[in-house]
Amino acid sequence: MAAPSLAVDLAPGNPRELVLANPVIAASGCFGYGLEYAGVMDVQRLGAFVSKGITPKPRSGNRMPRITETPAGMLNAIGLQNPGIRGFVKKYPKIWDAWKVPAIVNISAESVEDYAMMARILDELPGVAGIEVNISCPNIAAGGYCFGWDAAMSADVTRAVRAATTLPMMVKLSPGAVDVVSVALAVEDAGADAVSMINTLVGMAIDVRTRRPVLANATGGLSGPAVKPIALRMVYQVAAAVQIPVVGMGGIMGLDDALEFFFAGASAVQVGTAVFAQPGMLIRLIDDLGEWLSSQGVGSVQEIVGAALPAGLPSRRAATEADVEIDFAAAVAAG
């Protein structure tokens, strides 16, 4: 039998397409700019990687401590330390341009205009394969209310970025939204080529000795295996509703976790925190996935995407079936 196909296009509706050799992507903030891990693994074998979040201006980030461990998870409050879009552009894209692996740039901002400004700068930049729009940021114009919690605000950002670039664009959803499906449908409608999910959940730890928050920023983003059940539920809900590809992440530590996300409807997966614990896992995951598909006699990873969805993927259903009502029941705990 031929080796199974691992390839996936994360922007099937975009002429500039975003074809990955395999569906394993290193997640934003956990892989620096790709170079940091070049010494410990063959970065070129990845499906893609996403850069640390870039902002309009350079940021020195939050005070220390910025990270702390929690049960089967971690909290981070890096505070988007990065050289700013201009510093970034001078340095990394030209290095990536010589690379085989697609590099996706994660952008964060506090106003719709700033998102659009960054997208314009990235639009024709050699070395940049796509954009991931991080909408888990406070909207200054809305008193700090997070863009990603609100469908209309999320759609505004998406539309502005879409108008500024034809690059493949993935919008990264916030798990803080009360109804992540509405947000996903809104950004799909506003022109996103794909959605990625989930970003971190906001959490906290307190130092029992000092009686103060462990993190200098008090709160931080929770990631790692602890959040996997939540991430998987959200992917399952969103994948049942949108037609564009869903990129799943949150606590993936190996093949079984990745398979859960594929079955829930993710066309590709991102791996963040696990890379810290076991950098070798990323490449092993690609190999394990290929072997598993062969062992199951599956010709392409895309065949298993959405296997757990009762009605399958909307993009594969007849148009008339595709109008799914939002099912709140899936999101109400039934203790």
Partner: protein, 281 residues
């Protein structure tokens, strides 16, 4: 706001000029010796060729959990206590403190550990330095032992000062080369000076060409205050190994930064060794 300059190259040049890349490797526990009260000195196997290139001050990141468990999740950094290129081994000094270290310190011989390393920069001995002063607090003793080994091999003079809670918690003399001057301080006075190890420092500051320190933050604070009156024009220079919670160990997560006069630096790649005067404390 300080602009970050992320590190582009994680290659590390070993003592012999060999390029050593950090690797994730399996390492077997070959021996476990109880030492310094409840701490454990672990002897670990290394991939061929690595031992000789390890430099004093570097560390390794150890996964402290069994397969099938994700708690604790992250690796724990441990300074290299000693490396032996003949036996292709290294030693780590582990004090059982919390979840990770308690697990690691109680592993039986033959356990296979998942290790990432070598990581970080190293202590730098100036070619013209003759007299070196080591200042160790608790398990901070570890990297200074390797540094002492290397310094003596190069024919330099070493004074090794160590502080601990009590006599039991001191590194026994047998773990240090015999031609080292060893001075000790204990909180309870059960051995050596009663008080802080840093109390002993001033009398050596004239003698020393360089000072190297590793220990908890309060030790650095007291080192800064006791030494300030005795140092002229910032001499002797003092290098310290700083401790930050780490996630990646490779400069990617920006979780372990240290603010320096040259900007935010990742202590896992651009550290953990810093010139004390360059750090913004």
């Amino acid at each position: 706001m300080v602009e970050l300059d992320p590190i582009l190259d994680v290659d590390l040049v070993g003592a012999g000029g060999v390029v050593v890349r950090a690797r994730e490797f399996d390492s077997r526990i070959l021996a476990v010796e109880p030492v310094m009260g409840d701490s454990a000195l672990l002897t670990l196997s290394l991939p061929p060729g690595m031992a000789g290139s390890l430099r004093a001050g570097q560390f390794v990141d150890v996964l402290c959990r069994v397969e099938g468990s994700y708690d604790p999740l992250l690796r724990r950094p441990y300074s290299i206590f000693r490396a032996d290129s003949r036996t292709e081994t290294m030693q780590l000094l582990v004090r059982p403190y919390g979840r990770g270290s308690a697990w690691l310190a109680s592993r039986p011989v033959d356990t296979i550990l998942d290790v990432l390393g070598p990581l970080g920069n190293a202590f730098h001995i100036h070619p013209r330095s003759r007299n070196l002063l080591m200042v160790a607090g608790g398990v901070g003793a570890a990297p200074l032992v390797m540094l002492t080994d290397h310094a003596l091999a190069d024919g330099r003079n070493v004074t090794y000062l160590m502080g601990a809670a009590d006599a039991d918690a001191l590194l026994p003399t047998s773990y240090l080369p015999s031609d080292v001057e060893y001075g000790v301080a204990t909180d309870d006075g059960s051995k050596g000076h009663r008080g802080f190890v840093t109390d002993l420092v001033p009398e050596y500051l004239r003698w020393a060409d360089q000072v190297f320190a590793c220990g908890p933050e309060p030790m650095f604070r007291s080192l800064r205050s006791v030494s300030s009156a005795h140092r002229l024009g910032g001499k002797p220079r003092i290098q310290v190994s700083v401790e930050r919670t780490m996630a990646c160990g490779l400069g990617a997560c920006l979780g372990c930064v240290v603010e320096t006069k040259h900007g935010m630096q990742t202590s896992c790649v651009q550290g953990p060794i810093y010139d004390m005067d360059e750090v913004i404390w």
